[in-house]
C-alpha cells in the first residue's frame, strides 16, 4: 500500500515511537570525537593564557550536557506543534521568528566585537550567538512555507514568501557575518527548490545571489585580504592561519603524528579548537583519520536523508531537508576553507568544533529529526 519508491514491499519498518538509533549513535560518536579533539587542540593555549589546560574541554562538556537536554526535549515535541495555533492566531514559529529578529537587531546594534565582527550577545554569564538560533528558526519556517505554498512553487510567485521572510533577517546577519548569512540563505532557499525541482527562475535567483556575494566579498576590506591569502597562501604573513593550517594538514601524512602529538596547535594556529580544528585532525590522525571523520558525516547525512524521504508527511520531510542542508553546508564550507579551496571564512565544523550555541542548536536540530523519525509510519500503516 506504500506509495513511496524507497520503501521496498515487505521490508520491516521500525514501530511508531522509536528513534532512528543509528542517527543518534552517529551524533554521539561525532560529539565524543569533538570533545577529545578539543582537549588535544586547546590544552596548550588554555594553559598558556588561563593556566587551566582543561578549560575548553570542560566547557565543551557543559555545552554537550545543555545540548543533550535540548535534543531530548525537542525530540519529544511533535514537530507539528511549531505550526499549530498557539495563542489566538499566533503560531510558535511566528513567535520564534520574532524573537530571532529582535535578537539579530540587538546584536547588530549593540553586540560586542569578537574577531572584528559583532556576532555575540551577552546574557548574564553566557555569551550567546543569536544567528545559531536563527538557523533552526529558518529551517522550520522554510519547511512551513514550502508545505503551505507547494502548489505555487513552480512559479516565481511561490518563492516570494521565502524572500519576505528570509531577506530581512539574513541581511541583518550578513552585515557582520557573511558566511553565516550564506548558510542561512541555503537553509531558507534550498528546501523550496528541492520540493519543486529545479525551475528556470531558480537560476535567475541563484545568479543574483552569487552576484550579491561577489560584491560583498570584494567591497569589504578584510574580505579582500582573505582573498589574497587564498590565492597565494605562502606569500602572505607566515602568521596567517591559512598557511599554518596547511602546514598542519601537510605534515600529518596518511597516518598522522598520533593523537595529541601535533605541533601546530602550540601557538601557531589561531582558532585551533574552533574553526581550524580539522587541520589538527589531519595532523594528528592523518588522511586516514580525516577520511573517517568525513565518512561519519556522510553517514549522518545519509541517515537524515532517509528520515526525510520516509517522513510521515511533507512538512517533516522538509524540516529534515533543512537540517540536512545546514549540516552539509557547514561541513563542506569548513573543509573547503581549511584545505584553502575557498577563501577563509569563519564556519565551525558541526559537532566537533568548540562552541556553545552552535552545539546546542545542532543537537536541538537532531532532536527535530529524531522526532520526525519517531513518527515514520510502520509498513502498512496508512499515511493518514
Amino acid at each position: 500500500m506504500s506509495k513511496t519508491g524507497v520503501r521496498k514491499p515487505g521490508a520491516k519498518r521500525r514501530v511508531v515511537g522509536s528513534y532512528d538509533i543509528s542517527l543518534l549513535l552517529l551524533v554521539v560518536l561525532l560529539c565524543a570525537f569533538g570533545v577529545v579533539m578539543i582537549y588535544s587542540t586547546s590544552y596548550y593555549n588554555a594553559d598558556r593564557y588561563y593556566s587551566e589546560s582543561a578549560l575548553y574541554y570542560s566547557m565543551q562538556i557543559r555545552n554537550l550536557i545543555f545540548g543533550a537536554v535540548a535534543m531530548i526535549l525537542v525530540s519529544f515535541v511533535d514537530y507539528h506543534f511549531y505550526v499549530r495555533l498557539f495563542f489566538k492566531s499566533i503560531k510558535p514559529i511566528h513567535a520564534l521568528y520574532l524573537v530571532c529578529m529582535v535578537l539579530q537587531i540587538i546584536v547588530a546594534v549593540a553586540g560586542y566585537s569578537a574577531n572584528g565582527s559583532s556576532r555575540w550577545l551577552n546574557v548574564g554569564p553566557i555569551s550567546f550567538q543569536p544567528s545559531e538560533l536563527t538557523k533552526i528558526c529558518l529551517i522550520i519556517m522554510s519547511a512551513y512555507l514550502a508545505t503551505k505554498y507547494k502548489g505555487v512553487l513552480d512559479r516565481f510567485k511561490g518563492f516570494l514568501p521565502f524572500f519576505v521572510i528570509g531577506i530581512p533577517i539574513i541581511g541583518l546577519v550578513g552585515v557582520h557575518d557573511l558566511s553565516t548569512a550564506v548558510v542561512l540563505a541555503g537553509i531558507t532557499f534550498i528546501p523550496p527548490i528541492v520540493v519543486s525541482g529545479l525551475k528556470r527562475y531558480h537560476f535567475v535567483i541563484a545568479g543574483l545571489g552569487i552576484a550579491a556575494l561577489v560584491i560583498m566579498i570584494t567591497t569589504i576590506g578584510y574580505r579582500q585580504e582573505r582573498l589574497d591569502v587564498w590565492l597565494n597562501p605562502e606569500l602572505q604573513d607566515p602568521g596567517s592561519q591559512t598557511i599554518q593550517g596547511l602546514y598542519a594538514i601537510a605534515s600529518g601524512g596518511y597516518m598522522g603524528k598520533g593523537l595529541g602529538e601535533g605541533l601546530q596547535k602550540l601557538g601557531k594556529i589561531q582558532e585551533v579548537h574552533t574553526d581550524m580544528i580539522f587541520t589538527v585532525v589531519c595532523e594528528e590522525l592523518g588522511i586516514a583519520g580525516a577520511v573517517i571523520v568525513i565518512l561519519t558525516f556522510i553517514l549522518l547525512l545519509w541517515r537524515i536523508y532517509v528520515v526525510a524521504v520516509n517522513a510521515k508527511d511533507m512538512f517533516g520531510g522538509i524540516i529534515c531537508t533543512g537540517v540536512f542542508i545546514h549540516i552539509a553546508m557547514q561541513v563542506v564550507i569548513n573543509l573547503l576553507v581549511v584545505t584553502n579551496s575557498i577563501p577563509a571564512t569563519g564556519i565551525p565544523l558541526p559537532f566537533i568544533s568548540y562552541g556553545g550555541t552552535s552545539l546546542v542548536v545542532l543537537l536541538a536540530e537532531m532532536g527535530l529529526v529524531l522526532n520526525v523519525s519517531k513518527q515514520i509510519p510502520e509498513e502498512g500503516v496508512a499515511d493518514a
Partner: protein, 639 residues
C-alpha cells in the same frame, strides 16, 4: 487560507520530486567530500615534505636573552664608585587589554590601585593606542609597587596587559668624581671612556639565555642558562684623595682660573694612581650634559655639532691624552740619566754665563745674567739651562735618547685606560747638538702627564720603572680574585745611588730653590717646577708644572700638576700657581694617608750649597727681563 485548509496541506505526503531533489543534494555533498579528500591527498603529496619542515623550523629557535649584571668599580678601600642596579620598566599592552571587554575595567582598576597611576591618563593611553602592544609607561618603577601588583594580578584572571621588564641601570654615587678614570656606559650597555671602556669585557659578564627546543620525541623543552655577573674592579684610586684633589682644582679655578689643569697623585712605590683629575670632570650619571663644564648661557647658542665636539673634549682624559712640552721638570730626568751613565759625577760643577752657544745658536738661560758657578744640585735647584745643556752634551745623544725611552717617553706607558697618547720625541737621527741641548731642559718634544709621573716615580722609588695603573684587582662578585696587578715593575731605570742623590737635590729645590711655595710645614717635600712656553712662542702662553713627592726620607706620595695657561697674566709664566696648588693638596692628603707632620728633620742637609744662593726666593720666570727665547726653527713639527 484558514487553519483547517492549512492543516490539510501540512499533512501532504513527501512527493517524488522532493525525493529526487534530496538525492541530488546528497550526491552533490558526496562529490564535494570526494573533492575535499582529493585536496587533502594533494596537499600532503605536493607540499608534505616542505610544509613538515616548515612546522619544525618555526619551532626550533625561541630564545630570549637575559641581562647580566655589570660589575661594580670600587676605590682602593672598597668605596663603590660605580654599580649596577636592577630596574623595572612598566610596559602597558593596550591591545591585550582591549581584547576582551571584561579585561578593561579590572585591568585599569588594578593599575590605579597598585601602581598608583592616574585613571584618566591610563584610559586615554589605552584607547589612543588600541593596536599597540608595547608602551613603556614608567621607567625605573620601585619594586614594592610592582610586587603588590603582581600579587594581586596572579589571583585575578581578568587583570592583564601590564608587563615588567628588567634591566640594569648604571649608577655613579659620586656623580662627577674621577669621571675620567671611571668613564660611563652607553644605552647599549657598552662602556665608553675610562675603566668602563678599557675593562668592558671583564665588567659586562655573560648574558644568559632562555630558549625552547624540541627533543627527539618532539616534546617541547625549555632551558634557561643564567646570566653570569660581570667582574668587579678594585681600583688604586683613593676616594678621599681624589675628592681633595678635585676640590682644590675647583678652588683654583674659582680664584685664579686656567685653561686646563691636570693633577695626578701616585704611589711612587708601584706607580698606582691614587687620584687623577682635571678641571673638566663631568657628571657620569648624565654624561651628555655639558652643564658641568660650560655655563648654560653658552650651551644655548651651541649647534649640535659644536655640542658633540665639546662633549668629546669634555670626556677626554687630559692626564693621559694631551701632550705638551714638559719644560724644566724634565731636567731631573736629564740629570738622573747622566749620573746613572757616569757621564757626570755628583761632585761636578758647571758654569753659567746666561747663555750657551750650541750649534751656531745662542740659547739663553732663565737668568740672562748667568748663574755663575753651580754644583750639580744647584743646577737643579736654580733650574739652570746652561748647566743642563752641558750635562746633555757630556751624556751624548745616544745615551740621552736611550734614557728617554728607558723612562718611558715616546711610547704609551700602558696604563689601563683608553685614549692614551704616546707623545713625540725627536728621533735619534734628528737629535743633533742643538736639539739635544733644548731637549735637555724639556723643550722641543712632547710628553703626557702620565709619562712624567711614571718616570718620576721610578726615580723616587730607587730606580724601578713600574707600569702606571688604575686597577689593583679584578674579582668576581663573590670576592674571589681573578687577577691582580700589584707588581707591575717593568725595568730598572737608574741605580739606587743616583735615585738617592736626585731625591736629595729635589728636596733642596723645594727647600730653597725654585719650588719653595710647594713646602708644607712639618713635611720633607721634594720636587721640581717646570715652565714651558707654548708655540707660537711670541704669544707668551705657558704651561707651568710641578712634580713633587713626600716624605723625602721614605717617599709615599708623588704629585704631578700641570696648569695650562694660567688665567691671571701676572702669574702666567710663573710656576708658583703649580707649587702652591701642590702645597694645598699635599697638606690635606698627607695626614689622610697616615703621613703625619714632624718637626725634627732627620736628613742630611748640605748647608754650603744653600749659602751659595744669592736670593732664595728668586724665580727666574718672574723676571720680566728673562731672555729665555728658543731659537726659531726648532718646532717639534720640523721632525
Amino acid at each position: 487560507m484558514n487553519s483547517e485548509q492549512e492543516n490539510r496541506l501540512l499533512r501532504r505526503n513527501v512527493n517524488p520530486t522532493m525525493r529526487k531533489g534530496l538525492k541530488i543534494a546528497f550526491l552533490v555533498v558526496l562529490a564535494l567530500c570526494g573533492f575535499i579528500v582529493g585536496r587533502l591527498i594533494y596537499i600532503n603529496t605536493e607540499n608534505g615534505e616542505t610544509y613538515s619542515k616548515a612546522v619544525l623550523s618555526q619551532r626550533a629557535y625561541q630564545s630570549r636573552s637575559l641581562a647580566s649584571k655589570r660589575g661594580a668599580i670600587l676605590d682602593r678601600n672598597g668605596i663603590i664608585l660605580a654599580r649596577s642596579e636592577k630596574r623595572y620598566n612598566v610596559i602597558i599592552d593596550p591591545r591585550q587589554i582591549l581584547d576582551k571587554d571584561y579585561y578593561i575595567e579590572p585591568s585599569i582598576d588594578a593599575m590605579v590601585r597598585y601602581l598608583g597611576y592616574d585613571e584618566q591618563e591610563i584610559r586615554t593611553l589605552i584607547y589612543d593606542n588600541p593596536d599597540s602592544s608595547y608602551i613603556v609607561y614608567e621607567k625605573d618603577a620601585d619594586y614594592s609597587r610592582i610586587s603588590e601588583y603582581k600579587r594581586y594580578q596572579s589571583s585575578k584572571s581578568k587583570v592583564t596587559g601590564v608587563w615588567f621588564e628588567e634591566e640594569y641601570a648604571r649608577i655613579y654615587p659620586y656623580s662627577s668624581l674621577a669621571s675620567h678614570v671611571i668613564g660611563f656606559v652607553n644605552a647599549d650597555g657598552s662602556g665608553s671612556y675610562g675603566l668602563e671602556q678599557y675593562y668592558n669585557n671583564e665588567l659586562s659578564g655573560i648574558p644568559g639565555l632562555s630558549y625552547t627546543y624540541f627533543d627527539n620525541d618532539l616534546k617541547q623543552q625549555k632551558t634557561v642558562e643564567d646570566a653570569v655577573d660581570g667582574y668587579e674592579l678594585v681600583t688604586t684610586i683613593d676616594y678621599n684623595v681624589e675628592r681633595i684633589v678635585e676640590e682644590k682644582i675647583k678652588d683654583f679655578l674659582d680664584t685664579t682660573g686656567a685653561k686646563n689643569i691636570g693633577v695626578i697623585v701616585m704611589d711612587p712605590n708601584d706607580a698606582s694612581v691614587l687620584a687623577m683629575a682635571s678641571n673638566r670632570e663631568y657628571d657620569l650619571n648624565n654624561p651628555r650634559d655639558l652643564e658641568a663644564c660650560y655655563p648654560s648661557s653658552e650651551i644655548m647658542f651651541m649647534t649640535e655639532d659644536e655640542k658633540l665636539e665639546k662633549r668629546y673634549e669634555m670626556w677626554k682624559n687630559y692626564c693621559i691624552s694631551d701632550t705638551y712640552e714638559p719644560g724644566s721638570t724634565f731636567k731631573t730626568i736629564t740629570v738622573a740619566s747622566a749620573l746613572d751613565e757616569n757621564a757626570i759625577s755628583t761632585e761636578d760643577t758647571f758654569y753659567c754665563a746666561g747663555y750657551s752657544e750650541v750649534g751656531g745658536w745662542r740659547i739663553g738661560c732663565n737668568n740672562k745674567y748667568g748663574h755663575g758657578k753651580l754644583s750639580l744640585t744647584q743646577s737643579l735647584m736654580k733650574s739652570c739651562n746652561c748647566a743642563l745643556m752641558e750635562i746633555a752634551a757630556k751624556l751624548g745623544k745616544d745615551s740621552f735618547y736611550k734614557y728617554q725611552t728607558k723612562f718611558g717617553f715616546g711610547a704609551k706607558t700602558g696604563i689601563d685606560l683608553p685614549g692614551e697618547s704616546s707623545g713625540i720625541l725627536i728621533p735619534l737621527r734628528n737629535l743633533n747638538e742643538t736639539e739635544l741641548a733644548t731637549s735637555s731642559f724639556g723643550t722641543t718634544f712632547n710628553v703626557t702627564m702620565i709619562q712624567i709621573a711614571a718616570a718620576y716615580a721610578s726615580i723616587i722609588n730607587g730606580g724601578t720603572y713600574y707600569q702606571p695603573h688604575v686597577v689593583r684587582e679584578i674579582r668576581r662578585s663573590d670576592k674571589t680574585v681573578v687577577s691582580n696587578y700589584n707588581d707591575m715593575g717593568v725595568r730598572q731605570s737608574i741605580s739606587e745611588g743616583t735615585a738617592s742623590f736626585i731625591r736629595n737635590s729635589l728636596y733642596m729645590t723645594v727647600e730653597s730653590g725654585t719650588a719653595t711655595p710647594a713646602k708644607v710645614e712639618g713635611y720633607l717635600i721634594g720636587g721640581k717646577t717646570g715652565t714651558a712656553q707654548k708655540r707660537p712662542r711670541e704669544e707668551k702662553r705657558f704651561v707651568v708644572s710641578f712634580a713633587g713627592f713626600a716624605p723625602v726620607t721614605d717617599p709615599q706620595v708623588l704629585i704631578y700638576i700641570v696648569i695650562d695657561e694660567v688665567a691671571d697674566p701676572e702669574l702666567s709664566s710663573s710656576s708658583s700657581p703649580a707649587t702652591k696648588l701642590s702645597a694645598s693638596i699635599m697638606k690635606e692628603i698627607l695626614p689622610y694617608l697616615g703621613i703625619y707632620p714632624d718637626g725634627e728633620i732627620d736628613y742630611h742637609v748640605d748647608l754650603n750649597m744653600i749659602a751659595d744662593i744669592e736670593n732664595e726666593n728668586y724665580d727666574p720666570f718672574e723676571d720680566e727681563k728673562n731672555p729665555f727665547v728658543l731659537p726659531e726653527g726648532l718646532d717639534a713639527s720640523d721632525e
